[in-house]
């Protein structure tokens, strides 16, 4: 997917934060990955390390945590978690590229509606940055 583009945004943001706070080094960065987005952690970690070389974030520890995908039905208000291993592999792959494809393949388990909101589990964001 766009692990490299995502990693670049993360590194740029982290470096900007470090610069704004006049920090010499970045110690630790906590990153959350939406479950639906299914970022390949290995590629993402490699990209983070590569892109932070020769920057104040060079030795930073990048820790990745998953945020579960929670959907909420707009018709009956039922909320449910998407279990990745229960998805058909082809569909999981398509949703991984484009989380909104979930509206094509998933249905509310209670009422069958395709009209639901993705409450959490999409996107990638920085939860915290520790500076040195």
């Amino acid at each position: 997917m766009h692990e490299w583009a995502l990693a670049e945004s993360v590194v740029l943001t982290v470096l900007r934060v470090a610069e704004e706070r006049n920090a010499a080094r970045v110690l630790r960065v906590r990153i959350k990955l939406g479950e639906l987005q299914q970022v390949e952690e290995e590629i993402f970690s490699t990209a983070l390390r590569e892109l932070s070389k020769n920057t104040p974030a060079e030795d930073a520890e990048f820790s990745l945590a998953r945020e579960p995908a929670v959907l909420k039905c707009n018709r009956c208000s039922h909320e449910w978690k998407v279990e990745r291993d229960k998805l058909k592999p082809e569909e999981a792959e398509l949703i991984h590229f484009l989380p909104e494809a979930a509206h094509t393949y998933l249905r509310c388990p209670r009422c069958g509606s395709p009209d639901f909101a993705i409450e959490s589990g999409r996107g990638v964001w920085i939860e915290s940055v520790e500076l040195g």
Binding site: W4, L12, L94, F97, L98, P99, E100, A101, T104
Partner: protein
């Protein structure tokens, strides 16, 4: 959003084909224009932003082409046109997207697509003068607008609304094309009144339907010949 900007950094020019109205020929005009430009050896991309009725892949006969995965996705090329659409991801299924879902889907497509170097990226816009327009204006502020209208008053009135919105948001308007023209020069008159450049007319061409999904055939229609005269003006 920064990712979208980066993916578009090799694109010289983004031209959105819009109208506000559905069924006026935005998809046919944008796909055919992309083919014509590619024939004139321009590096051209086509982004289909109609998430409810994606059509570009149907017109180009590219329904089974998947983008390839490589540090993002690389759009498949068909007759020299790099095509990106929601279609490969939703197949023939419905897309029950609300406004904010559509915004996310658009941002996602912009963020993952590696266009590379392009002289021109044509954007096939969905109907509507709400979210769909505001999102593009926000995320691709440099986009220029090519509006398509039929001679019908119903089309012209909606186009007028779209133009007002585009003007207020500071967007650049390239001009207007009249599609399915017949007889009176209604759109040309409208353009004069609105101070918008009139780029030309394309007639209704019954041969077009058979050429859908067959780009070689489409390029040989009267529709394409007339559109070519307009495309040539898009310096």
């Amino acid at each position: 959003m920064r990712e979208a900007e980066k993916q578009l950094s090799g694109v010289r020019r983004v031209v959105c084909v819009g109208s506000g109205k559905g069924g006026v020929g935005k998809s046919l005009v944008s796909a055919t224009a992309a083919l014509l430009l590619s024939q004139r050896s321009r590096r051209v991309g086509l982004l289909d932003l109609d998430f409810y009725g994606p059509s570009a892949h149907l017109i180009l006969g590219a329904w089974d082409l998947m983008p390839t995965e490589d540090r993002g996705v690389v759009p498949p090329e068909i007759h020299g046109v790099r095509l990106m659409s929601i279609a490969p991801y939703i197949g023939e299924g419905p897309s029950a997207l609300r406004g904010s879902d559509a915004t996310h889907a658009m941002l996602e497509l912009l963020a993952i697509t590696r266009w590379g170097e392009l002289d021109l990226l044509l954007v096939d816009m969905p109907p509507g003068t709400g979210d769909e327009i505001l999102d593009v204006v926000k995320f691709i502020p440099a986009a220029e607008w090519l509006v398509v209208s039929t001679p019908s008053k119903l089309s012209i009135q909606t186009v007028r609304r779209l133009l007002l919105l585009l003007r207020e948001t500071g967007s650049k308007i390239m001009g207007a094309i009249e599609n399915m023209a017949e007889g009176e020069a209604c759109v040309e008159e409208f353009c004069r009144a609105e101070g918008v450049q009139f780029l030309g007319s394309v007639p209704r061409d019954p041969k077009v339907e058979r050429a859908i999904g067959r780009p070689e055939l489409l390029l040989r229609t009267e529709f394409a010949r007339r559109l070519e005269a307009i495309v040539r003006k898009l310096k």
